[in-house]
């Protein structure tokens, strides 16, 4: 037998590979993400090639320009009609360019920009050995308390890597809510999670706590990612595809062509239910919904405060965007299955977050539990399963993210010898010492509490209205009850600031640079404008409230 014949015993000749078509990528429509990724890569190169003393300025410049340019690109795309009439699926079915995508991308970019200002703040910490320093560790690799750390501090090192890390995280967040297949979703999840794990570990002070927070976040986040990935595998087994559109079709019962390799699993509802539950679980972890919230207080407390602010705002926006798309585009066919579960999660999250927050004594932990309660309110809008539900969630996210960044920026200002004074008892009498800072923080707290004439009220009203119209009246009632509970601890902080006598050894309020002032100023402005005249933004969210399928 000739070799060829022998060979043919166990192989068959395939059709000759005629041509692999080059994928068609709409660069213009993906430009916001591409700009940010490109700038992040430039940032890495800056770290490698630019002398240490100029890195900070180069990094800040590149990051600001990139985020601003990406935002301009989003606005241009939206103005071009990609949010409404020209909405479609780009990049070979991987990315959806539609209203919710663009709205959330715009929000994330602005939140990233404002967050970047707080990252770049260098006037709060006293200068170490003549060098202005920021909130980040001098040298992340130096063991806390070691000689290497002291040397790094003395040499005036700063971790300018935070800027490219921030940009990578933003890039992942831009893709996350617009991902249109499960693999892109997963890649985006990891792209924004990994930089965040790192950023959490980089606090200049209380480094052990910061590293502990990062490890907790990483371990739990890795679990959540594993769940998501397993869920994706099961959904693939169920639908024979990772594409949102195909899965949605299979869920609705029209199986296009059964893949022979998956003949035994396709259309198996057990796979669908378990798979969908696991993917949703991963997303609920990222938004910090109960019972997947355990990481939130520790990570919020341990991470450097600018990172906490950015993470609390932008991660929530991105993750809720992805959750909305998953539930509204992929799984609307099984809403009768997921709605009761989400009801339970929303109720637990609203009540749990509000009740546990009452006993907190650390301002960052308190804000962490408050963010959990807010995740519950947003879930009430998600459950509405209507166009109003989408737009109300979009509006709420935009309103919430600026209040959050502003509030955490104020937290960075209140300092004593050990750095930020986050224990609540130290905030006593702040209103007497620094009326302006206390008043600004009070505005943010009132917005969190949802008092009328602040953005928090407009957002809360929007999601509760959508939920009530969607028939979830009990959810609305529980929502207002937990709002009342939540009001208690926001008010408690105001009482402490204004009605308690200042402590003799109390903290001082640092005078920030224009960067942090801008972050806080933007927060106040958005809070008031969205509270008093929300019409324009509600319209915007309403126009953006339609997903492309």
């Amino acid at each position: 037998m000739s070799a060829a014949v022998v060979h043919s015993l166990w192989t068959t000749a395939a059709d000759p590979i005629s041509k692999i078509g080059a994928p068609k990528i709409e660069y213009g429509q993906l430009s916001p993400t591409l700009i940010v990724v490109g700038a992040a890569v430039v940032g890495v190169l800056i770290e490698a090639f630019i002398p240490r003393r100029s890195r900070y300025y180069a990094q800040v410049f590149v990051s600001v320009v990139a985020l601003a340019a990406a935002f301009a690109a989003v606005v241009a795309l939206a103005a071009d009609g990609y949010g409404t009439t020209k909405a479609h699926i780009a990049a070979m079915g991987a990315i959806a360019v539609d209203g919710p995508s663009l709205f959330l991308q715009g929000t994330i970019l602005l939140a990233g920009l404002v967050g970047l200002f707080t990252f770049a703040e260098r006037r709060l910490d006293p200068a170490a050995h003549g060098n202005r320093v920021d909130s980040f560790a001098a040298q992340a690799s130096a063991v806390p308390g070691s000689d290497a750390e002291k040397a790094a501090v003395k040499a005036g090192f700063t971790t300018t890597e935070v800027f490219p890390l921030l940009l990578f995280a933003v890039a992942g967040m831009l893709i996350f809510p617009s991902a249109n297949d499960l693999l892109t979703l997963f890649v985006a999840l990891e792209v924004f999670s990994l930089p965040l794990y790192l950023l959490c570990a980089l606090a200049r002070r209380k480094r052990l706590m910061s590293q502990e927070a990062a490890v907790k976040y990483f371990l739990l986040g890795a679990f959540a990612s594993a769940f998501t990935l397993f869920g994706i595998a099961l959904l693939y087994g169920y639908a024979g595809s990772v594409s949102y559109a195909t899965i949605a079709q299979v869920v609705e019962g029209n199986v296009p062509n059964v893949d022979p390799a998956l003949a035994n699993t396709m259309g198996n509802d057990a796979l669908l239910l378990v798979g969908a539950a696991m993917v949703v679980m991963g997303l609920l972890f990222k938004v910090g919904a109960i019972p997947f919230h355990m990481w939130t207080p520790d990570v919020y407390q341990g991470a450097p405060t600018p990172v906490t602010g950015f993470m609390a705002a932008a991660t929530k926006v991105a993750a809720f965007g992805a959750l909305l798309r998953l539930l509204y585009v992929v799984l609307p066919g099984m809403r009768w299955d997921w709605r009761p579960v989400m009801w339970g999660v929303a109720i637990l999250t609203m009540l749990g977050g509000a009740i546990v927050a009452i006993t907190q004594t650390d301002i960052k932990r308190l804000l962490a539990y408050s963010s959990i309660a807010h995740a519950g309110f947003i879930l009430a809008g998600v459950i509405a399963t209507s166009k109003d539900g989408v737009s109300s969630v979009l509006f709420y996210l935009a309103a919430y993210s600026f209040v959050t960044i502003g509030a955490f920026a104020v937290v960075t200002l209140v300092r004593d010898a050990g750095g930020e004074a986050t224990h609540l008892s130290k905030w006593a009498g702040l209103g007497r010492r620094s009326p302006l800072v206390a008043a600004v923080f009070a505005v943010f707290l009132l917005a969190f509490a949802g008092i009328p004439l602040t953005s928090g009220f407009a957002g809360k009203f929007a999601v509760f209205k959508a939920a009530a119209e969607g028939g979830a009246v009990p959810l609305v009632v529980i929502g207002v009850i937990s709002s009342a509970v939540a009001a208690f601890f926001y008010i408690r902080v105001i009482v402490l600031m204004f009605f308690s006598e200042p402590r003799p050894e109390g903290p001082t309020v640092a005078v920030p640079s224009p960067l942090t002032m801008t972050a806080i100023g933007v927060g106040v402005a958005v809070t008031v404008v969205l509270g008093v005249a929300p019409q324009y933004f509600l319209d915007l969210a309403n126009q953006a409230g339609v997903f492309v399928r």
Binding site: A468, S500, P534, Q535
Partner: protein
């Protein structure tokens, strides 16, 4: 487009608040004068509203309507009926007195940084409350009303928690603790009420599709908007709960004695004479108009609760040792009368209730402000610390007596007319409740006269012996209020004429006619 008079009545104090808050720390006195001028100018505008208002004209007058948040179906809609006009005028009338009476209440102690400006804050907050109260009396859009109904809690909260009596019988530290307790209790009660109402407001939107009071009431009247009985009742309860907390009605009243006890006398006047009226006003305007059937359904329970308020408030007032808490419990008793008058569903009852709101505002202001002058002289709120004041400060004692007699509804003083009307109105439909409520008057005589006797008569206590009589500023505050009390007691027609047509309208909203007198019915 005509001049937006109603908007101006709210914008002016709001601007005054901003301007007052912006006065530099050293120019305290300028801030006070600025606030006083702003409140007087608002009063002039309120008079203009009163003059332009035609009692026999359209139901809502001086209306304004602009698009606001169309995504929620919310419009900026203002308009006043007779009841609204009377209460706007009452508010604008009382605020200058509140400011004048509190002239020195917020002078800073030596603590705090240079940027700490309590005086400016105090007067700015009072004006802010005035602006929000006035706009809630004028709003004819449920959402607009709700926003200011809730938002006014924040400045009030700072007024209660941030400013207390200068001298306190238990020392400054205890005083601060009690103050912040009172402020938090006030806020949580009212916020909880407001949030329950928020659920009902959302529910109303889901049912009706917009927030316009006129549109919804019309749609309900002509049958184009059908509400299931249970839906209407739930929504009614949501609204009523918030108003009952604000008013306050037993058993939701417990925040009031704390808040009034700890706040300075002018702020206590602001709470009980002005802000709480928003609650009773809103029952008339929103509960009865939007949910007539549910209002009738709930009447028996509400009347009983009002009755309990009347008697319980009066009984507890008798037992108080603290002057301001005594007035607070007396107010709870009076709010019981007002709510009873509203839900008696007779035109006398509702006219009486509306008059009662105005008269109670004036009489409580008179009594409480004089009490405040008394307390600031001696540095104690306890009744037992006083005695024989009338020998030392006869004018103070005399004005205190007139305020007290007004509170117990002595014939010839304004509150008598309204209390009489409320009782008559209740008696014609619910004789038993009317009769029992009358005992409230007896108790009122008891707590007022005992208060007067213990503080003003008897041997002069040593700490009181050097007490100065009323100063000019204080006389300027008290005298006009007493003149008004006597004038409206003898000649209540001007107010009644404004109020009566609006009450008739409200009666027809709930499809109620006055019960015929027995004799006529027998024919």
């Amino acid at each position: 487009m005509s001049f937006p008079l109603l908007t101006a009545t709210a914008v002016l104090p709001a601007l005054g608040a901003v301007a007052t808050a912006a006065v530099p720390a050293a120019r305290r006195t300028a801030a006070k004068w600025l606030a006083l001028v702003a409140s007087l100018a608002t009063f002039v505008l309120a008079i203009a509203v009163l003059v332009r208002f035609d009692p026999d004209g359209a139901r809502y007058q001086l209306t304004e309507s602009h698009a606001w948040i169309s995504a929620f179906g919310v419009r900026y809609e203002l308009g006043v009926d007779g009841i609204g006009v009377a209460l706007v005028a009452l508010t604008a009338l009382l605020i200058p007195f509140v400011i004048l009476a509190g002239w020195h209440d917020a002078d800073p102690l030596e603590t705090g940084s240079r940027r700490w400006r309590p005086t400016q804050g105090f007067f700015a907050l009072i004006l802010a409350v005035e602006a929000m109260v006035i706009i809630s009396f004028e709003a004819t859009d449920v959402f607009l009303f709700y926003i200011f109904f809730e938002a006014m809690l924040i400045p009030l909260y700072f007024l209660i928690g941030g400013f207390g009596d200068r001298a306190h019988e238990h020392g400054e530290e205890t005083a601060a603790t009690q103050r912040s307790y009172a402020a938090v209790k006030f806020l949580l009660y009212n916020l909880a009420g407001g949030l329950i109402m928020l659920a009902a407001v959302i529910g109303l939107y889901v049912v009706a599709g917009n927030f316009s009071l006129a549109e919804i009431a019309q749609a309900r009247a002509n049958g184009s908007l059908h509400m299931a009985t249970s839906t209407e009742r739930w929504l009614f309860l949501g609204f009523f709960f918030a108003f009952a907390v604000k008013a306050p009605l037993w058993p939701l009243h417990t925040w009031l004695p704390n808040a009034m006890g700890e706040a300075t006398a002018p702020v206590a006047v602001l709470i009980t004479a002005v802000v709480d009226k928003v609650g009773t006003f809103a029952m008339l305007r929103f509960c009865l108009q939007l949910f007539p059937e549910a209002s009738k359904w709930a009447t028996p329970v509400i009347l009983v609760l009002a009755l309990i308020s009347i008697l319980y408030g009066a009984l507890l007032a008798v037992g108080q040792r603290d002057i301001k808490r005594l007035v607070a419990y007396a107010s709870i008793s009076h709010f019981g009368f007002i709510i009873m008058g509203i839900f008696a569903m007779t035109s006398q009852g509702q006219s009486g209730a509306t008059l009662y709101m105005v008269n109670h505002g004036i009489s409580t202001a008179a009594l409480l402000l004089v009490a405040g002058f008394l307390i600031s002289r001696r540095g104690s709120r306890l009744i037992a610390d006083y005695g024989g004041v009338q020998k030392v400060a006869p004018v103070l004692a005399g004005t205190f007596l007139i305020g007290g007699l007004a509170t117990l509804s002595l014939p010839g003083l304004a509150p008598f007319v309204s209390e009489f009307l409320v009782l008559v109105g209740t008696f014609t439909r619910h004789p038993a409740i009317g009769i029992i409520a009358t005992f409230g008057i007896v108790l009122a005589a008891l707590y007022t006269l005992v208060l007067y006797q213990r503080t003003m008569t008897g041997p002069v206590k040593p700490q009181v012996s050097a007490m100065p009589d009323l100063r000019v500023r204080e006389l300027v505050v008290v005298a006009p209020l007493i003149v008004l009390l006597i004038f409206l007691g003898v000649y209540p027609k001007p107010v009644a004429d404004i109020v009566n047509p609006a009450v008739k309208q409200t009666m027809s909203d709930v499809h109620q006619t006055d019960p015929k007198p027995e004799v006529e019915a027998a024919k």
